[in-house]
């Protein structure tokens, strides 16, 4: 009996060991572009669609796509940086990281290519807002081409607002006037937001900046503990009273489930734009959901800027081919292809193209939101900063701190993070 078992184990082992020595060899003779980016609609799906088209046009090129969720994607890039680079050719990059990776020599400055392809560059400059484009410029050089533009929009249940006989709110004051009329827990909540750790900071930015605040001054001394910060925090606290209790643990996907399919949320005032809530294939209630500009606060509307760009690795063997792919991906002719595969372009022409808007109707609102958007800080520490602010806001939502205390503690912690830069700028 044990002999039979052992012989099975042996067979299994030999198969395993043999297979382990067979390392799949890359297709010989083909230029291989390795691409790393995020996964799912707007990200990986769009890349795959465009890459397939590219490979059809260029049969001697193989585009290998690695898609991961945010943390794993950032981790793989970080590991590549730590290991000296070279694993990837084209990098889907968040503008927050450009400063750090440019300084580290991981990204290739694109200025030479831009000079060489001046027609393409002119077109890009004319078709993308300066503010958006400017996020990919650092120390006078260009490091990535934006291919994905993002800012915040306001999603709401048109049918619920109609039933209550109210108009779509355009300011936060109106939001809070409308909310009690449609609030009916536990089966329906007037509002929803993603509030899990740094997501809470994402919702807090817009009112904070609309009230005149900014994270720090020219010397990086944090300015979160200001009246603007406190007001925005109080606003957020008030909003959570109309949200489901576990919204404090929601990321974007949870909110979209709650609003788009389960149908328990009425308004999501400051949400990053995305192709779920207005897409009937992804959300059961998509046809009942309307999109508008996020509400203004104290008469002003300042929104955070998101979006991504495509950069090239300095250690890539196929730089020219990578640049060719980037031109293909961000070229005017291919934006409809991109959108057809759930992409979210950065080009204004693409966001206002009727064919694209028919596919993703929130594009027209996004194009307007981008006019109000300002970039978030382009420094590596910002990941930590937004988490700190988010956690303090979470503690406020749990009732452990008042808005003023939360903002004050956030400021203290952020100061510790920024200390290095503060000392440097004071020299």
């Amino acid at each position: 009996m044990s002999k039979k078992m052992l012989s099975w184990l042996l067979v299994g082992a030999m198969v395993g060991l043999l297979a382990s020595f067979v390392c799949p060899i890359a297709v010989q003779g083909k230029t291989t572009l390795t691409f790393i980016g995020q996964t799912g609609p707007r990200y990986g799906f769009a890349v795959k669609g465009v890459a397939d088209a590219y490979m059809k046009l260029n049969p001697d090129v193989d585009v290998v796509i690695e898609s991961y969720p945010w943390e794993e994607w950032a981790t793989k890039i970080a590991l590549d940086v730590a290991g000296g680079g070279g694993a990837y050719d084209i990098i889907w990059i968040d503008y927050k990281f450009i400063g750090g990776y440019a300084d580290a020599g991981y990204l290739l400055p694109l200025d030479a290519y831009l000079l060489q392809d001046s027609e393409f560059w002119q077109d890009i400059q004319s078709d993308i807002y300066d503010v958006v484009l400017g996020m990919y410029k650092y120390k006078g050089q260009w490091w990535a081409i934006p291919h994905d533009g993002n800012s915040q929009v306001f999603y709401y249940r048109q049918d619920v607002l109609d039933d209550a006989g109210v108009k779509v709110p355009t300011s936060w004051e109106e939001v809070f006037a409308v909310a009690p009329k449609i609030h009916n827990p536990p089966s329906f909540y007037a509002a929803g937001a993603n509030l899990k750790r740094f997501w809470a900071a994402d919702v807090w930015y817009a009112p904070f900046m609309s009230a005149g605040g900014y994270f720090w001054d020219e010397n990086y001394v944090p300015a979160i503990d200001t009246p603007a910060g406190v007001e925005a925090a109080e606003l957020l606290l008030k909003l959570t009273k109309f949200c489901p209790p576990d919204a404090i643990g929601w990321a974007e996907a949870d909110l979209y489930e709650a609003m788009g399919t389960a149908g328990v949320v009425g308004m999501a005032p400051n949400q990053w734009a995305g192709n779920v809530l207005t897409n009937p294939e992804a959300a059961k209630l998509a046809n009942k959901i309307g999109v508008a500009l996020p509400p203004s606060f104290k008469g002003k509307r300042v929104l955070p800027m998101g979006g991504y760009g495509l950069g090239i690795n300095t250690k890539s063997y196929y730089k020219d081919q990578a640049w060719d792919f980037i031109k293909f991906y961000t070229g005017r002719e291919n934006q409809q292809l991109l959108v057809a595969h759930t992409g979210q372009p950065a080009r204004i022409s693409a966001l206002t193209d009727p064919v694209n808007v028919a596919k993703s109707r929130y594009f027209s609102v996004l194009a307007k939101s981008l006019e109000y958007a300002i970039p978030r800080p382009v420094i590596a520490e910002f990941s930590i900063v937004e988490n700190i602010v988010g956690v303090e806001l979470n503690k406020m939502m749990l009732g452990e701190k008042t808005p003023a205390e939360a903002v004050r503690d956030a400021n203290t912690e952020v100061y510790k993070v920024m200390r290095g830069r503060i000392e440097q700028s004071q020299k």
Binding site: A82, Y101, P186, E257, E392, M397
Partner: protein, 299 residues
């Protein structure tokens, strides 16, 4: 045992395993130790790898920066999590093992395999399915509870409930582990012991205490040691179900280490945090083994 041959043979048999683990295990240990004395951000590598001595350790032990929760507090949360999960896993696992080792052995074989399934599912799947079930307004658990008229707790919205949610999900996932180890131990109890008990007319409790317990003591050791260490070291469920929240009320130690390393990319600090965790695990293991040494062997 005597003679030259027997002195060398055991070492020869140990060499392959030692070699593998030396190469694979010791390098990370040394590298992390070195890294923990430096400050290195993978998001801003040009800042360099700067020597900071014990600052990472001091920082971790005296403040919660930048995690929002202090090390002692996180340790406390981890111990609660550890205790709750072990109690559930071992308790229910033992119960199940006793039930399935009964006289109806043969018929229950397929049921035994069904018992194993939660452990076979990928942790990501387990985490996500429980997260869905715990949703307050549209989750499955509250739907069922409301249907039968019971109160629906705010599973993921309140600190205490969030911890309970984590413990429940973990116990569900890992019952098969203790079940299988205890089952193997119970089934290896020789038949004559049971016959002797029958002859002596022993009751259920006496059977348990004098026959079963001595034989499964070692199984307990394995389970608590392995699962205990993993509960301190692994953060699959707290990551997927609560993400350390709400706020930081389920930010157990491994979760914090993960955030430091893979979200903030402050890997020097993360290495120091990991080393502190390592120290704790060592303490746990040494304490546990000593406690077991003191108990008398087989009754």
């Amino acid at each position: 045992m005597s003679g030259e041959r027997s002195k060398k043979l055991p070492w020869l048999m140990l060499v392959p395993a030692i070699a593998v683990l030396l190469v694979l295990g010791v390098f990370p240990l040394i590298y992390s130790a070195w890294l923990s004395l430096h400050s290195y951000s993978l998001l801003d590598p040009s800042r360099g790898i700067n020597y900071v001595g014990g600052e990472n350790f001091l920082n971790t032990l005296t403040s919660g920066h930048p995690l929002g929760i202090s090390f002692p507090k996180s340790l406390w949360l981890t111990l609660i999590y550890l205790g709750g999960c072990l109690a559930g896993e071992v308790g229910i696992g033992l119960l199940a093992a006793m039930l399935f080792s009964g006289e109806h052995r043969r018929g229950l074989r397929s049921l035994r395999i069904l018992m194993m399934t939660p452990m076979l599912l990928a942790p990501v799947v387990v985490g996500n399915i429980w997260r869905y079930m715990y949703q307050y307004s549209f989750g499955l658990l509250n739907f069922l509870l409301r249907t039968v008229g019971l109160p629906a707790p705010e599973w993921l919205a309140k600190p205490t409930w969030a911890m309970i949610s984590l413990i429940m999900a973990d116990v569900w996932e890992w019952i098969p582990f203790s079940f299988l180890v205890l089952l193997a131990a119970i089934l290896s109890i020789p038949q004559d012991q049971w016959e002797a008990a029958n002859i002596d007319g022993a009751g259920a409790w006496q059977r348990f205490r004098y026959i079963m317990l001595p034989w499964i003591k070692h199984a307990f050791l394995v389970i608590i040691l392995i699962r205990g260490i993993d509960l301190i070291r692994v953060m699959d469920l707290p990551y997927v179900i609560t993400y350390g929240g709400p706020a930081v009320s389920t930010s157990v130690l491994p979760f914090n280490a993960y955030m430091l390393g893979f979200r903030y990319f402050e890997i020097g600090h993360a290495a120091a945090y990991a080393y502190l965790m390592l120290a704790l695990i060592n303490v746990f293991v040494i304490l546990f083994i000593n406690v077991l040494r003191r108990r008398p062997e087989n009754a």
